[in-house]
């Protein structure tokens, strides 16, 4: 199973763009990259998923370089409500959904 490495925590201010990078050096050919957001006392919420290049949806963008050994979640113009833990997962689903400790993002006013 591909192991992921993310920063433990990050701080930002309202209105800034936040980029969280995840390293996954031993990603397999069939693996997708998925990001989840979790607020305290709630279940994780799906943010975005990608395989290569760039994916964008209404809440975030995901940048994946050609070698796929890392990925960057980009949150445009964060607000206080974006304070949460963000998890990067790599796998082909099923029992491959292994969560790490995640990145605790704190958005300050």
């Amino acid at each position: 199973l591909a192991k992921t490495t993310q920063p433990i925590s990050m701080d930002s201010y309202e209105g800034q763009e936040v980029n969280i990078t995840c390293s996954h050096n031993n990603i397999a050919t069939n693996d997708y990259i998925t990001w989840y957001q979790q607020f305290p006392s709630q279940g994780p919420r799906f943010i975005i998923q990608g395989y290569k290049t760039k994916v964008t949806n209404e809440v975030a963008s995901l940048f994946i370089p050609a070698d796929r050994k890392s990925s960057t979640l980009s949150l445009p113009r964060v607000s206080l409500s974006d304070t949460a833990v963000y998890y990067c997962l790599v796998g082909d689903f099923g029992n491959d959904m292994r969560f790490g400790a995640g990145t605790r993002l704190t958005v300050k006013p």
Partner: protein, 113 residues
């Protein structure tokens, strides 16, 4: 539409007791997953079902933990002879098929005194 629901939201029990945690997946979702999350850590995979059968139960910590999904919809996670170390948030997720995005419920917070 309705999301994944879990009951109860909170469960307090005494060491040695038996508990059951229920998960109602999104209607039509064939895959169902159970995770356990301790404070400050990411969710830890326990078991997943494809339909009625447990496709992978390698994450169950020991034989005190058991899960069923008899009709391929609702699932129950059962913990026998609870220990204080079982205290955690138990999360359930479902996906349309095995390779699809997982959607999580709000969790059941289990406290073993």
């Amino acid at each position: 539409g309705a999301g994944v629901s879990q009951t109860p939201s909170n469960k307090v029990t005494e060491k040695g007791k038996y508990v059951e945690l229920r998960c109602d997946p999104i209607s039509g979702h064939t895959a169902l997953y159970w995770y356990r999350q301790s404070l400050g850590q990411g969710p830890e995979f326990l078991i997943y079902f494809q339909g009625t059968g447990a496709a992978d139960d390698s994450g169950l910590p020991n034989d005190r933990f058991f899960a069923v999904r008899p009709e391929g919809s609702v699932s129950t996670l059962k913990i026998q002879r609870t220990e204080r170390g079982d205290s955690a948030m138990y999360l359930c997720a479902s996906s349309l098929n095995l390779a699809d995005t997982q959607y999580f419920g709000p969790g059941t917070r289990l406290t073993v005194l």
